[in-house]
């Protein structure tokens, strides 16, 4: 680590993150001025107004211009989303955030003016009209089958968002914009293309005016973006003029000249390319999930030509990458209280995908893939996230390098399998060459850069759906009927009858979850056009359509996230074994025990706990889990989305297995009501795997993962299992076997139990302890106690 990076890294240790209101103020100013105009143009002008006026600064030693907010480490209160009430702001202040007193006063004034007609209140209003006020859907919305359960008919109006970044929200769809195009062609080419489209426009179709608005909007935003970069150029020049230090002055002058060139024009070397990338990245924010796509691929030509011509060294490249890590560490996000529980520990997924195959199927690894890993190993910073695409020809040396990073305990990279991801896209109709270009656009949600997009997942709590089935449509959590009558479970003579009835109930509940997604999609389409990101999709300018208003080559616009699948699979197997096969208990006894939360049925509970469980390479329970995931995938495919395609199944729980467990009563796997569910989606239930990591992988390989946009398997390793190079090679081999035989994803926490226990008691001594929660790594000491315990209790695999 260079001195420069060390200083930047040290500066990251702050106690409070400032909440800023500049963007909110600028947005309202603009929206006031543009009242009555088409939403596309209003949003473009709002975006331009922010870019022209927001406070900018260049921090000490920084070599890349652009930060995420008007203050260092800042989070801008978002105007698109819910209103920050006094109560919510107070809750933030008691957490790790701070707000200047005058800003807080101003925030409440802005709220008063804006709250009733903000885009978000319109969104909430529409969702409430469709879901909360509907007698069929309302009991479902509060049942806990999807999270969060609504408390009143107005739904999720509580709490807003504060985030870093200069783009437009909403951030909750997953997409990777065309970084390569900006690097290669520059913003001016997009302005020119839109200009030509306007010239060629003839009013011949029903959407001609909409297209005109779109192209005008694109020009407004991209011109403002170029001005924004030039503001940095001017600032750097001015700072250079005041700079005493010779070297720093030269750096600032170089930064100024780079910002005058990119993103307007094509980048011609590594330094220009990384600056152009970063400006683009900041515009794709705010979002908790902005993807950097296949960074090692599109940056490689600039790296290679600079190295060959001696313009840059590997050490200098690593320094740039490490600065990038520091900068991404300062990009933050916070949401209201309810959401904070769902995504623990400043959840964020800024995912850099490396490795994998090229379009022709050959290995895509290059020197940058390794340098990106090196930057993580050297700085030990948990962001940005790195995901390594693994295929049969992934070089063992790259696996080893990746595992050296895993060994440090920062929970990354995650490993994903090319086979299963590429199958997913091909089976959805994507050409093979395009499918091979997939990247991570969230935690493990695959998308093709510029060619596909996914709407935010709604978590579907399978265990709650199962409980509703067990009670013939009645929801124990709300005490009212939510499902359809599928029969009294005591009356089913065989397990097959029992399971068929479950399928019926499950499909009914899942179709309502799909409806809920559609309502959000439809409402967002009208309210949140985003010309910037739209233009950076394939044919983004030519089509003249907003990103939320068109169908992509692969339409995976809406997906549902499965939570609790393993608990339900284990439960099904226990029922099959103990009630139907061995007839040790009757269904009536089981229902009584579940309704009593197992109290008074301890011996019976032990039998259900002891029934074989998923994660031990046992065909019985593994098949039940596999059937649950097959049912989920099949049910999703039966539901259409507002964008014409089908609902896509996803299986990543993030930290929803905690609130999901909280709403679900006792289950036949022996779990008590309210207890946390199995984490991820393919991890065995806590401590239920006793046969080692290969058995876990074999169990997971029994689940057909190809239909899923992403699956998660978390594994915890003790540091002693990764001591020697030979250990790493063997672990690397095991990972590769899993990921080339149906597995989609695995990630590791390497940390000793004793250290984590101690960190709970003495958080002050372990402020740097990083663990992997779901798709993201977080500081352990900032996680809620329930999640801390869960991380500790994930089975530790002693290799």
């Amino acid at each position: 680590m260079t001195d420069r990076v060390r200083k930047m890294k040290d500066a990251l240790k702050i106690n409070k993150y400032p909440l800023c209101i500049e963007q909110f103020k600028l947005a309202i100013e603009s929206l006031d001025r543009t009242a009555g105009e088409p939403m596309l143009l209003r949003r473009a002008k709002l975006h331009a107004h922010i870019l022209d006026n927001i406070t900018i600064f260049i921090e000490d030693g920084d070599l890349i211009c652009g930060s995420g907010a008007s203050k260092p480490f800042g989070l801008e209160m978002q105007y698109e989303y819910g209103v920050w009430t006094k109560d919510e702001v107070e809750s933030l202040k008691s957490d790790i955030y701070t707000i200047a007193p005058e800003d807080e006063e101003e925030l409440y004034r802005l709220n008063d003016r804006f709250a009733s007609n903000s885009l978000n209140s319109n969104l909430i209003g529409e969702m409430s009209k469709s879901l909360g006020m509907d007698d069929r859907l309302w009991p479902f919305m509060k049942s806990g089958v999807i999270l969060p359960p609504w408390k009143d008919r107005k739904g999720g109006s509580g709490g807003g968002f504060a985030m870093s970044g200069y783009g437009l929200g909403p951030g909750f769809f997953l997409v990777c914009v065309d970084f390569e195009k900006i690097l290669r062609c520059g913003a001016q080419s997009i302005i020119d293309e839109a200009g030509q489209c306007l010239k060629d426009l003839r009013y011949t179709h029903g959407d001609s005016i909409e297209k005109r608005n779109f192209w005008q909007a694109v020009i407004i935003v991209y011109q403002a973006w170029i001005r924004f970069a030039n503001r940095y150029a001017a600032l750097a020049d001015k700072m250079a003029g005041d700079e005493k230090d010779e070297l720093r002055r030269a750096e600032l002058l170089e930064m100024a000249s780079i910002c005058r060139k990119v993103p307007q024009y094509p980048a011609e070397n590594f330094r220009e390319a990384i600056q152009s990338f970063w400006f683009t990245f900041l515009m794709a924010l705010p979002s908790p999930t902005t993807s950097a796509g296949r960074f090692d691929q599109y940056m490689y030509p600039y790296y290679k030509s600079d190295i060959e011509s001696g313009r840059i060294t590997d050490d200098e490249v690593v320094e740039y990458l490490e600065i990038l890590r520091c900068k991404v560490m300062k990009i933050n996000r916070v949401s209201g209280k309810a959401n904070r529980a769902k995504n623990a520990g400043q959840a964020k997924w800024y995912n850099w995908t490396i490795g994998g195959v090229k379009e022709d199927g050959s290995d895509a690894t290059n020197e940058l893939s390794c340098l990106i890993l090196e930057s993580a190993k050297d700085t030990l910073l948990p962001h940005f996230t790195i995901t390594l695409r693994v295929h049969k020809d992934t070089p063992p040396a790259l696996m080893k390098k990746a595992l050296e990073v895993v060994r440090t305990g920062i929970g990354m990279p995650a490993f994903v399998g090319d086979n299963s991801y590429i199958n997913f896209f091909v089976n959805n109709g994507m050409p093979l060459r395009d499918a091979r270009d997939y990247c991570m656009t969230g935690c493990v949600d695959g998308n093709i850069p510029a060619r596909s997009r996914t709407q935010v997942v709604t978590f579907f709590i399978i265990s709650q759906a199962f409980d509703i089935f067990m009670h013939n449509g009645y929801c124990r959590y709300t005490g009212e009927n939510v499902g359809i009558p599928t029969g009294n479970v005591e009356d089913f003579a065989t397990f097959d009858e029992f399971f068929s009835a479950f399928k019926k109930q499950f499909k009914y509940l899942l179709s309502m979850a799909a409806e809920r997604n559609n309502v959000e999609l439809i409402v967002q389409r009208d309210l949140f056009p985003d010309p910037f990101r739209s233009a950076l999709m394939q044919d983004g300018v030519k089509d003249g359509k907003d990103i939320l208003n068109k169908e992509f080559a692969i339409e995976n616009s809406s997906c549902l996230g499965a939570v609790g699948g393993v608990n339900v699979g284990d439960s099904l197997y226990a029922v099959k074994k103990l009630v139907y096969d061995e007839k040790k208990y009757t269904m009536t006894e089981l229902l009584r025990a579940l309704d009593a939360d197992w109290v008074g049925y301890e011996d019976m509970r032990q039998d259900f706990i002891r029934a074989p469980k998923y994660g031990n390479n046992l065909a019985g329970p593994d098949r039940c889990v596999s059937e649950v995931y097959a049912l989920f995938a099949e049910s999703c495919a039966e539901n259409s989305t507002a964008y014409g395609g089908r609902v896509i199944p996803n299986a990543i729980s993030i930290s929803a297995h905690q609130p999901g467990g909280a709403v679900t009563g006792a289950t036949p796997d022996g779990r008590k009501g309210g207890d946390i569910l199995a984490d991820a989606s393919l991890s065995p239930d806590h401590g239920k795997d006793t046969q080692g990591p290969i058995a876990v992988f074999q169990s997971a390989m029994r689940v057909n993962q190809d239909p899923y946009q992403g699956t998660l398997l978390n594994m915890k390793l003790h540091p002693t299992s990764l001591k020697t190079d030979a250990d790493l090679m063997k672990l690397g081999s095991m990972i590769k076997t899993y990921l080339t035989n149906g597995g989609k994803h695995v990630q590791f926490n390497v940390v000793g139990r004793a250290e984590m226990e101690d960190a709970k008691v003495h958080p002050e001594d372990h402020s740097e302890l990083v663990v992997r929660v779901a798709g993201y790594s977080a500081y352990f000491t900032r996680l809620p106690v329930s999640i801390q315990d869960e991380v500790i209790n994930r089975s530790e695999q002693k290799l």
Binding site: Q606, Q691, I694, F697, Q698, L731, S733, T737, N741, Q797
Partner: protein, 312 residues
């Protein structure tokens, strides 16, 4: 050999998947129960006695007392430790029947050792085959001492070879020559222990002399042409003197060839807690060797042998 060799049985106390320190690649290690040696430091004390044995884990016991009424011998009673109740087993009364195991809700009791057929063991090995093959690994038979069960061991090795699985054997090599010849026909890599070069000291430490052991190792390497890695458990105060390590390295270089690897395995304390679980006390208290000491012994051995590593 007829097909019923698949039904030959031996007591097995553990089948460890993803073993990474018992030979090349990822391995499934099969631990056989029963051993003719009595090493003072034994890391797997449950491997000594061939029959099933009850193991208890005090830290998991919640003191619920469910195991008391189910014991047919009345061997379990409640005791107190730091004010917390726990179930104590009178080992003189206990006949290792295992009735108490299913009664325990917290997994504090288990029976170590079950008779398994070659077929059962092989199925467990083959379950991992995909992972073994990709890593260049295979099956390792450990113990205990597999040479105590030549019929079973030979059959298992032969069946594994037929299934295309690489085979390795961890052994004391304490047995007659015919057993060695029968077994090592099917072994790809031998992992014999050399515990001490001085036969008298060897006898004191393990209960048996070393002449036959060393002869067998040379026979395996030179006559049977099976590659071996010499494994030396480094036990402070027992066999970690400069002279003994030097003598071991000299033996290896002279009799087996300087290309034969030596693995120096530092003593660890796992055996102590296992003794506790078996209701026994360890005879001596040993501190694990320091990293520096291990490095020093490694460089001593490297004077004679090219490939010396710490750990398996």
């Amino acid at each position: 050999m007829t097909q019923d060799y698949m039904d030959i049985r031996a007591p097995v106390f553990n089948i460890q998947s993803y073993s990474i320190h018992d030979g090349p690649g990822i391995r499934v290690t099969v631990f056989i129960k029963g051993c003719p040696l009595s090493c003072l430091w034994c890391a797997n004390p449950e491997s000594k006695h061939p029959g099933p044995q009850l193991m208890t884990y005090r830290s998991r016991c919640t003191g619920c007392a469910r195991c008391l009424p189910v014991c047919p011998k009345g061997a379990v009673t409640m005791a107190q430790s730091d004010g917390k109740p726990y179930a104590e087993t009178d080992r003189d009364l206990c006949d290792n029947c295992g009735s108490c195991v299913p009664a325990c809700p917290s997994g504090a009791r288990e029976i170590s050792g079950e008779e398994m057929t070659v077929r059962q063991v092989l199925d467990r090995v083959l379950a991992d085959k995909l992972f073994l093959d990709d890593s260049g690994g295979g099956m390792t038979i450990s113990g205990g001492e597999c040479l105590l069960y030549p019929d079973f061991t030979e059959a298992l090795l032969c069946a594994a070879k037929q299934a295309g699985v690489h085979t390795a054997v961890e052994t004391s090599c304490f047995s007659g020559r015919d057993t060695i010849d029968r077994i090592f026909r099917y072994v790809d890599l031998g992992l014999p222990d050399v515990k001490h070069m001085d036969s008298a000291v060897h006898k004191k430490l393990t209960g048996v002399p070393n002449r036959q052991i060393l002869d067998n190792i040379v026979h395996i390497r030179s006559d049977l042409n099976v590659p071996v890695n010499i494994r030396v458990p480094v036990i402070p105060g027992c066999n970690d003197s400069d002279e003994n390590i030097t003598a071991t390295a000299l033996f290896t270089a002279d009799k087996l060839g300087p290309e034969t690897p030596i693995h120096l395995l530092p003593y660890h304390r796992l055996g102590e807690s296992k003794n506790e679980s078996l209701g026994k006390k360890m005879d001596l208290s040993i501190e694990p060797p320091s990293d520096e000491h291990m490095e020093r012994l490694k460089s001593l051995a490297e004077k004679y042998v090219r490939n010396v590593q710490i750990g398996g």
